[in-house]
Symmetry: C2
């Protein structure tokens, strides 16, 4: 019997395991997961902490029992793989009962990512959190519940964020203005915390356009989040618990700190086994997710991917890629070689009553490095017919190559519900197909007054940029 072994039981791992077993029921599929949770939606953690999702179990799309019983997958939770021997074709897993040596014919590394803790003093203090795992989410939610009950923390003078709750919790700090930082600003402010968001660079959501970053920062401020831009956090101080965020200019009292300073791939296991990393620091693979070691694959947050515009390897650890590439590996190891496609670096974020999406290459320096001559235009247009009783605006930044007109990237922002995110889909399609702004300008997009203007804002952006390229 052929054995397919998977290390890591989240999106990439369980997608691969499920697909492989479905396509080849004779295959022996063994999954090692060091924790107890599998196949969960980490992207939902901010909404769990916020209190909109009642139980961590709700984030689990398929339970361990269902994998075992319904899908006939040999899923071993609480098993940490500590070594791979590519010559013997075995992995060694440690667990409560001891150690298991498991032979494999095909192996998938789906070891995921871990939160980056910035190299500053004080991150080990109590009250300093990250949000990379289900247990992180659990701890944060418990902290929020305690703070709201007021049983463990002081209740200093309350800021304006307290309009959300009668009984307000104290000031907190978020280090990092990426999408975790922004989503958690909403989650914490909605629970009555006075939120200080510290962003090293001059704008939040640096992967998005300037226009999007400004719209989001403005909106965060409208919702009483104190946004500190261009602010390097130097140290966190306190006794046992964190008490102060120290920057170059200021000392800000806080009752907790969330570190939202990105993630890095978990690669130690692979490196120890002689599996090559790419320039991004994540595991290098070919288009089929196979590593430099034959029959060893890598997918999801531990691996790099090719960028759809540049063709170059990039590290974009996001859920859809993990699912897609995991599934592709499941097909490949059962005899149907499947690439699973490139990534566009597409991301979406909600912050209070605003939504934003980005895709492709927006940064002009990055575009030039890839051989393009980038040009961008930003337009703000009505999200629905001007006469329609509902509606807002969508701001679209579109970037293309001046010479060829090829679309390179886009960033969109609108009020929540006004369609910035779903509108980005057309641009993802366009840049994946290497379409030009003229092509996009002529797309026969759906129109009716409750949904857009005759020229959808995406088409307006293409029209305007079309006058700039060439």
């Amino acid at each position: 019997m052929t054995t397919f072994v998977v290390v890591g039981g989240d999106a990439a791992g369980m997608s691969a395991a499920s697909k492989a077993k479905r396509d080849d029921p004779e295959l022996d599929v063994v999954v090692f997961e060091r924790g107890e949770w599998v196949s969960y939606g980490a992207c939902g953690l901010p909404y769990y902490v916020k209190g909109e999702i009642q139980s961590l179990e709700h984030l689990v799309s398929v339970t361990p029992e269902a994998f075992r019983e319904e899908r006939d997958i040999d899923l071993r939770t609480g098993h940490e793989v500590v070594a791979i021997d590519p010559d013997d074709r075995t992995v060694t897993a440690e667990h409560e009962g001891g150690e298991t040596v498991q032979p494999y014919d095909r192996l998938l590394l789906a070891t995921g990512s871990e939160s980056v803790v910035p190299p500053i003093d004080g991150t080990e203090l109590e009250g300093v959190y990250t949000l990379g795992s289900m247990s992180d989410g659990k701890e944060l939610r418990e902290y929020v519940a305690r703070a709201r009950d007021g049983d463990t923390l002081q209740q200093p003078d309350r800021g304006p964020a307290c309009r959300y709750l009668e009984d307000c919790a104290g000031p907190v700090g978020i280090v990092g203005g990426g999408y975790i930082g922004v989503e958690m600003a909403e989650a914490l402010a909605a629970n009555g915390f006075e939120v200080n968001l510290f962003q090293r660079g001059e704008r939040v959501l640096t992967g998005f356009s300037d226009a999007t970053s400004e719209a989001v920062a403005d909106h965060l401020r409208e919702r009483d989040v104190v946004v500190h831009l261009g602010t390097d956090v130097q140290t966190l101080t306190g006794g046992d618990r964190v008490e102060t965020v120290v920057t170059v200019d200021e000392r800000i009292d806080v009752e907790m700190v969330l570190l939202g300073t990105g993630v890095r791939p978990r690669t130690a296991l692979a490196e120890d086994a002689g599996i090559a990393l790419g320039e991004t620091g994540a595991i290098e693979t070919d288009a089929y997710r196979e590593t430099n070691v034959s029959d060893v694959y890598a997918a999801g947050d531990c691996a790099e991917s090719a960028h759809v515009v540049t063709g170059e390897p990039v590290y974009v650890p996001l859920a859809l890629t993990a699912n897609r590439h995991g599934r592709a590996v499941g097909q490949t190891v059962t005899g149907k070689p499947t690439e699973g496609g490139a990534v566009a670096g597409t991301a979406a974020v909600k912050a209070f009553d605003i939504e934003a999406a980005r895709t492709g290459i927006l940064d002009h320096e990055a575009a030039r490095a890839a051989g393009f001559d980038p040009v961008s235009e930003t337009v703000t247009a009505n999200s629905r017919a001007g006469y329609y009783p509902e509606g807002g605006t969508v701001t679209v930044t579109l970037t293309a190559d001046r010479e060829t007109g090829r679309i390179l990237g886009a960033s969109l922002v609108s009020e929540y519900g006004e369609g910035a995110v779903h509108r980005s889909h057309a641009i993802v399609a366009a840049l994946t197909e290497a379409a030009t702004v003229s092509d996009l300008e002529n797309y026969d997009l759906a129109y009716a007054p409750p949904f857009n203007t005759t020229w959808d804002p995406v088409l307006v952006a293409a029209k305007v940029l079309s006058g700039t390229v060439r």
Copy 2:
């Protein structure tokens, strides 16, 4: 001085006039419009009749004064062009003061469409309406206002639709279950009318998928619209006013009837001048919208377009095409030949709390006629992460060619606000780029829990169909 003459002052005509004048300020641009309204959003008329838009003026995007004064266009409302002489290169316009003979160097016919009145007895009765023009909209709104005041009509027993208003108006009939019929069902039911919708075929919105049609019909019924499917209206009877809709099976008392039985291109003026029509009955043009007569162009609802999937001429009279092709003609006549692109037959509709979109070739017979071997799949999936507190479902029907996997068309339906319409944009892009279902399956679409599932429903449909093609 070169003169560009435009016949018809709505979307195509005013787009062409504005673009031509902007690109070549020296150009003499003359527009003849037989009515008083120009550049208006006819798509907004159902919402005006419903009462959500307070004034017809709100539907006007640019006023005649602004065209004249700000854009320096010689716009002559109340001027009906009655003849074109291609040899002399003149048009003859009749107006209150008499007749004008206007020379042209380039001519655009943007004469639009007119409502089709079905060939049955009784359509001339009072109380029988169409909704093709601003004056139609005005009459209907006045009717609704009168009926609601109860000053001119009987008030028979009220049906369940009366839950919308305390004071209810009587039963009305809508002939035709296309998007005008569906939108007007909402507009009239929301005003307390008991609405009978008569559809000749077995489903409403025949250009959409079966699944979409069923979802919309079910929802109309939930909102107390009486949907009569497979029902041929044979005659309308009454004294001066319409009183009864007579079908094969039934006689239904009504106080008014709206005919929503489609439109046809206005082509008499073109035909009289020897301008060729295509097989669709609309004016035939090349890719630059030039007719068989040199320097005479046609765009908008009077002209046919090429279909993006089949390349064949089709008649799809919709607003975006009129705007796009009009604008392209404006560029072409000022020295920058511009095609303006093909059409995908994309359409969107809202009906109460449901939204739907369609694009491309869905009908298997039409696909086979175009040389494809069509195969379709329909999936229903969560519109947002299952654990997210908001959300509904999106039902996606996707059609592709079995042999090549090329995407041919799609139809989507969801609760209003759950994104069926904006999600269709990605599929429009994909089919315009001649992408396959495998391509679509691998698009790196934006994902976050408030907006979709990790695999957006569009990707789920592609995944499922991907297993069927080849």
